[in-house]
C-alpha cells in the first residue's frame, strides 16, 4: 500500500463516484482501520455523510468491517485492490464476452456497476437492455448459472443470524460449499413474481431487502487468474506459435479445477489427458502434440516444463517463472525506451549474469567503454541497478576494490509499480481536467443530441446542427480524441501494473 497506490485509488473514487466517497476512502487508505466517529472528526464530514459513503463502499466490496472486541469498536478498512478493479472492469467484461457472449457480458457489467445484486435484480436489470425479451429470464438465468459454475460470480457472505440488540455488526458468513450454489429457476421465478406483486400493491419501490435474499458479486480473484492465463498464452503465442499457445490454453483449462489458487505452478497434466481435452477443430494429432510439447519445453522453458514420465509425460505451466520473465521483459522495455538499446543490453546482461564487474560489462556488451561507464552510472543513479563493493585490502580504496553490479528484480519491480500507479493517477486527473475544461461544450452537445432525436425532418436537423460552430465542433473532436487516448493509455498502464503485481505476489 504505497502512496502512489493510494493516490491512484482516490482518483478512481473521485472520478467514478463523488468527492465525499473519495474523502472517506482516502482517509481509510492513509490511516488504516478506523472507527466511524474518528473518520467524521478528521474528515470534517457529518456522521450521516460518512455512513452514506461507507454504505456505498461496502456494497461495492471496497470497504470491509470488523468488530474489535478489545476496544469494543467497529472498525472499517479499505480494500484497495477492489477499488482498482474498476480500472480493470473493461478487461473483465471483454474476457467474459469472448468466453460466453453478450448476455454473460451484460450480467457481469451490471454486477460490477452495482457491487452486489440479488438474482432477480440481475435478471430484471439485464432484461431491460434486451431488444427481444421473449424467454429472456430463462436465457439470462442459464448464462448466470454458467458464470457461477465457472466461478466468475460468487455468493456474498449472508446473514447467519438475525441481528439482536447487542450485536454491533451483522454476522455475515458463508461456507466454501455454498459459494457457488445457484437456486433453481423456479425458485427465482417465484421470488421475482413475489417482488412484482409487492411492487404493484405498495406502489413504491421495495427498498428493504429480505433477510434471506442471496446476493451475488463478481469473483475478482477468478478474473485475475483468467487474465494471468491469458497473459501467458499471449506471450507463448508471440514467442513460439499460436498453435502451441492453444495447447497451453488447454493445459491451463484442464488444470484450473485441480490447482488451488496462488500456487507457483499448475498440477502436472499428463499427455493423454491433454490430448483428450484439446478442441477437435484444432486437428492436433498425437504425433503433432508430442512435437509441440518438445518445442515448448525448449523455446518456452520458463513457462512450461515436463515434470514426469507417467501417462506419456507430465507437464506443468510455471506461473512464477513465467511472470518473472514477463516482469524482466517489462523492465527491459522500460529501460530501452528511457535510455536506449545499449542500456537495454547492459541491464539484460546484469539480469542474466547476476554480479558483473565493469570490465566484463565492457567486454560482453561490445559498447565503447566510456559510453558503457556512462550507461552503468545512469542506471545506478536511477536505481535500476545496484553495486556491491568488495575490498581487496583492509582499506576501502577505489583502486583496490572490486565493484560488482547487479539487478535486484523485486526492488526494480516495486519501483516501477509505484511509477505505474502515479501514471495511472495522472491519466485520471488529466481526464477529469479535460472534462471540466470542456464541460460547457459537452453539455451543449448532450442537449443538442436530445433535441435532434425528436426532430424528424432532415432539413430541420441540418438547420439545428448549425447551432454548433465549426470551432466548437473542432474543439469537441479534440476533446473526444484526448479522452480516447487517455482511456487507452489507462488500460495499457493497467496491463503493466497487472504483470508487475502478479510477479511480486509470487515472489513474496
Amino acid at each position: 500500500m504505497s502512496q502512489s497506490e493510494v493516490l491512484a485509488c482516490t482518483c478512481v473514487l473521485r472520478e467514478c463516484f463523488n468527492e465525499r466517497i473519495e474523502t472517506v476512502g482516502k482517509y481509510l487508505a492513509e490511516n488504516g482501520p478506523s472507527q466511524l466517529r474518528t473518520m467524521a472528526n478528521k474528515t470534517g464530514l457529518k456522521i450521516n455523510e460518512v455512513q452514506t459513503a461507507l454504505r456505498f463502499l461496502i456494497k461495492h466490496n471496497m470497504v470491509e468491517f470488523t468488530f474489535d472486541s478489545v476496544k469494543n469498536n467497529v472498525l472499517y478498512s479499505v480494500n484497495l485492490r477492489n477499488i482498482r478493479a474498476v480500472v480493470r472492469s473493461d478487461r473483465y467484461t471483454d474476457a467474459i464476452r469472448s468466453l460466453y457472449g453478450h448476455d454473460a457480458e451484460a450480467i457481469v457489467r451490471d454486477i460490477l456497476l452495482n457491487g452486489q445484486m440479488s438474482l432477480p435484480e440481475i435478471i430484471t436489470s439485464v432484461l431491460e437492455s434486451f431488444a427481444d425479451r421473449s424467454n429472456g429470464e430463462k436465457r439470462i438465468y442459464e448464462k448466470f448459472v454458467q458464470l457461477v459454475q465457472t466461478h466468475f460470480v460468487r455468493r456474498c457472505p449472508a446473514l447467519a443470524n438475525t441481528m439482536s440488540e447487542e450485536d454491533r455488526i451483522p454476522d455475515l458468513r458463508i461456507n466454501e460449499s455454498q459459494l457457488y450454489d445457484v437456486p433453481s429457476f423456479s425458485n427465482v421465478a417465484e421470488e421475482m413474481q413475489a417482488n412484482m406483486q409487492q411492487l404493484d400493491s405498495s406502489k413504491r419501490p421495495n427498498d428493504k431487502a429480505k433477510i434471506d435474499t442471496v446476493y451475488w458479486c463478481v469473483n475478482i480473484d477468478r478474473f485475475n487468474e483468467f487474465l494471468r492465463d491469458q497473459t501467458l498464452i499471449h506471450a507463448i503465442s508471440k514467442r513460439v506459435h499460436p498453435q502451441a499457445a492453444e495447447i497451453v490454453r488447454t493445459l491451463l483449462r484442464r488444470s484450473e479445477v485441480k490447482s488451488p489458487g496462488g500456487v507457483p505452478k499448475t498440477v502436472p497434466i499428463s499427455f493423454y489427458e491433454l490430448l483428450e481435452e484439446l478442441p477437435k477443430d484444432l486437428s492436433i494429432t498425437n504425433n503433432l502434440l508430442e512435437k509441440w510439447l518438445k518445442v515448448l519445453t525448449e523455446a518456452a522453458a520458463e513457462f512450461i516444463q515436463q515434470e514426469g514420465d507417467g501417462g506419456g509425460g507430465q507437464y506443468s505451466v510455471y506461473f512464477q517463472r513465467g511472470f518473472a520473465e514477463l516482469c524482466k521483459a517489462h523492465i527491459e522495455s522500460i529501460v530501452q525506451e528511457r535510455y536506449g538499446s545499449d542500456s537495454k543490453r547492459v541491464i539484460r546482461i546484469l539480469m542474466m549474469k547476476n554480479q558483473v564487474e565493469m570490465s566484463q560489462i565492457e567486454i560482453l556488451t561490445k559498447i565503447d567503454p566510456k559510453e558503457a561507464t556512462g550507461i552503468v552510472y545512469r542506471l545506478l543513479g536511477d536505481n535500476f541497478i545496484s553495486v556491491v563493493e568488495v575490498a581487496k585490502s583492509t582499506e576501502l580504496v577505489p583502486k583496490h576494490t572490486f565493484y560488482y553490479f547487479s539487478v535486484d528484480v523485486d526492488r526494480v519491480a516495486k519501483m516501477l509499480l509505484d511509477r505505474s500507479f502515479k501514471t495511472l493517477a495522472n491519466l485520471i486527473l488529466r481526464r477529469m481536467h479535460e472534462s471540466k475544461e470542456n464541460k460547457r461544450l459537452i453539455d451543449k452537445e448532450q442537449r443538442m443530441l436530445a433535441i435532434l432525436a425528436q426532430i424528424d425532418s432532415p432539413e430541420e436537423k441540418e438547420e439545428f446542427q448549425r447551432q454548433m460552430t465549426p470551432a466548437e465542433r473542432t474543439q469537441l473532436e479534440k476533446y473526444n480524441h484526448a479522452m480516447f487516448m487517455l482511456m487507452k493509455a489507462e488500460q495499457e498502464v493497467d496491463e503493466t501494473i497487472f504483470i508487475l503485481e502478479t510477479y511480486l505476489s509470487y515472489s513474496k
Binding site: 518445442v295 521483459a329 484526448a482 487516448m485
Partner: protein
C-alpha cells in the same frame, strides 16, 4: 646449500650458442637437464648490460600480451629513472616497442619488437587504433541479425513439423561467418570468435537464442536463431509519464501537474 625437496636452477651457457641448458637438482640429489627455449635476451650479440638484459627478459616472458611499465619496475626492482633510460635504449635498438592496450589506454606497455600484440590488447578487428569502431560493429550486428531473421522466415514457409522447424531455424557460427564473408561487407577477415561475440550481443539484446550442440567428434558448436520479443512496448512507456524526468515532483495543484503538463498536451494532440 640445497634444502630437502628444493629445486635450484643452474644455468649454463655454452659460449654464445643459442641453446641454454638448465640443471635442476631434485630432492634425491639427482640432476635433471632441461633444454630451455632460445632467449632473445641472451642469444643476440648485445651490448646491453645486466639490467637491460633483465628488463628484456621480463618483456620476453609475457609474449604477445605485453607488460605494463609499472609491472617491470615492480619485478625488476630497478629505479624508475634508470628503468626509463633502459626502456628508451631498448626501443632505440629496436628490441622492444611500446603498445597501448584497449582495456587500459593510459598504461604504457611494452612488447618484443618482432611480435604482434595479442587480441586482448588490440581489441581485435573491432578496434581501429585505440577506439572501438562502434559503427562497424553495429553494421555487422545488424547484418548478423538479418541473416538469422531471413533464415527463420525461410524455414517458416516450409511444411515441416514443429521440431524440424525449430532445428532448421538455427544457424551455426560458421554458417554466419560464411554468409558475412560472401557478402563482402567487411574488408578484413573476421575470426570465428569475433562472429560469436557479435551473435552473443544479439542474445544479450533479446533478439536471438543461443544453444550449444555437441558434434559427432565430441566438440561443441554454438548455434543461434532469431527470437521474437515476449511483449510489445511496456504500457507505462506509451504515456508521457513513463519518460518524464519530473514525475516525482508532479502533483495536482503544484507547478508541475497533470492538468498543466506540456508533455501531456503535446501527446494528446498526436
Amino acid at each position: 646449500m640445497l634444502g630437502g625437496g628444493a629445486l635450484r636452477t643452474v644455468e649454463a651457457e655454452e659460449g654464445r650458442t643459442e641453446n641454454r641448458i638448465s640443471f635442476h637438482l631434485n630432492k634425491d640429489g639427482g640432476v635433471l637437464l632441461k633444454l630451455a627455449v632460445p632467449s632473445v635476451a641472451s642469444s643476440q650479440v648485445l651490448d646491453i648490460d645486466e639490467n637491460e638484459q633483465l628488463v628484456l627478459q621480463l618483456i620476453e616472458e609475457v609474449g604477445n600480451k605485453g607488460i605494463w611499465r609499472h609491472e617491470i619496475h615492480r619485478k625488476s626492482k630497478i629505479v624508475e629513472v634508470q628503468l626509463n633510460k633502459i626502456l628508451k635504449n631498448l626501443t632505440t635498438k629496436k628490441l622492444i616497442k611500446p603498445i597501448t592496450s584497449v582495456l587500459a589506454g593510459k598504461k604504457k606497455m611494452y612488447i618484443l619488437a618482432n611480435l604482434e600484440p595479442n587480441e586482448s590488447v588490440t581489441g581485435g578487428n573491432f578496434y581501429s587504433g585505440q577506439q572501438f569502431d562502434s559503427e562497424y560493429f553495429k553494421m555487422l550486428h545488424a547484418m548478423c541479425y538479418k541473416f538469422l531473421e531471413d533464415k527463420a522466415e525461410e524455414v517458416r514457409k516450409l511444411p515441416l513439423n514443429p521440431v524440424e522447424q525449430r532445428m532448421r531455424t538455427f544457424l551455426s557460427t560458421s554458417d554466419v561467418h560464411e554468409a558475412i564473408q560472401n557478402s563482402k561487407v567487411s574488408k578484413v577477415e573476421l575470426k570465428p570468435q569475433e562472429i560469436d561475440d557479435i551473435l552473443l550481443t544479439l542474445v544479450f539484446d533479446g533478439k536471438a537464442e543461443h544453444v550449444v550442440r555437441t558434434t559427432a567428434q565430441g566438440g561443441h558448436t554454438n548455434y543461434y536463431c532469431a527470437v521474437a520479443a515476449l511483449i510489445e512496448t511496456s504500457g507505462l512507456m506509451r504515456t508521457p509519464c513513463g519518460q518524464c524526468p519530473l514525475l516525482n515532483d508532479c502533483k495536482e495543484g503544484g507547478i508541475i501537474s497533470p492538468s498543466s503538463c506540456e508533455y501531456m498536451k503535446n501527446w494528446l494532440t498526436f
